[in-house]
Symmetry: C2
Subunit: 164 residues, 2 copies
Amino acid sequence: MFVLGIDPGLSVTGYGIVAASRPLQALAAGVVRTDPRAPLSQRLVELFDDLSAVIAEFGPTEAAIEEVFVNRNLQTATAVGRASGVAILAVARAGLRVTEYTPSAVKLAVTGYGDAPKDQVQAMVARRLGMTEAPKPADAADALAIAVCHLQSTGLRRLIGERT
Amino acid sequence: MFVLGIDPGLSVTGYGIVAASRPLQALAAGVVRTDPRAPLSQRLVELFDDLSAVIAEFGPTEAAIEEVFVNRNLQTATAVGRASGVAILAVARAGLRVTEYTPSAVKLAVTGYGDAPKDQVQAMVARRLGMTEAPKPADAADALAIAVCHLQSTGLRRLIGERT
């Protein structure tokens, strides 16, 4: 099983593909960028098309996305909301089910501490995936962390027999 | 020329099609609803598909959408942001250019007053379109108002020779 993790943003959306092997293994990590000078509609089309291409290339079977971080301002929430709406659509139209995780759930899953600083999350996710260092840019590493969080959560749900 | 006006929302998205005739004429007005009990991903797919079907049926040549109203709370801004991202994507993928208008720009265009109450905007848009009363629900009437705003703005821009 391959899990696609997505850290959505209008300018930069991080993605990471993690295989549910033992140990977990990162298959890909990168970002989709859109041109800030382009019209919003064109940026959303680019994001949709590029993310759909990533899904087609790596064939993940499940997806996980970070919930919009609600402590930001309204304008950021709107931009991230639009990007995440389009990202969720790309995933859903590819036939994948998508689960949302809060930033603190991701931190908790990866480091055992929901308020862990960003660099600690990145160092830990790299170690969990057997990488010598966290991939750059940070959005790609964050996307891997989201995929790891999903694998860990679904693994736990299976252990306790809950239907996911 | 037919203009598609969109009042985006996750539960209810209003749409209206207005012909650039003299006087202006409403060709269609309605809403796309998504099931609040369904997963978010399914709701966004429904919104995308239904809005794409409206575009295919009526063949608008331009689109206008209301900007997310920034005085709401963050959770609403996120939900509306996701819906509007998906709506803009549906329009852009159909090859239409889309222009955004603030709620006060729409009110100003329709009533001449940027702080006009909602029922006044609806009564005025019905009158402008030669309808005996505003279409229900309110989201459909709001979508017509957005289309009227766009036609009026592009008409003004043409008069003053600005490239749009």
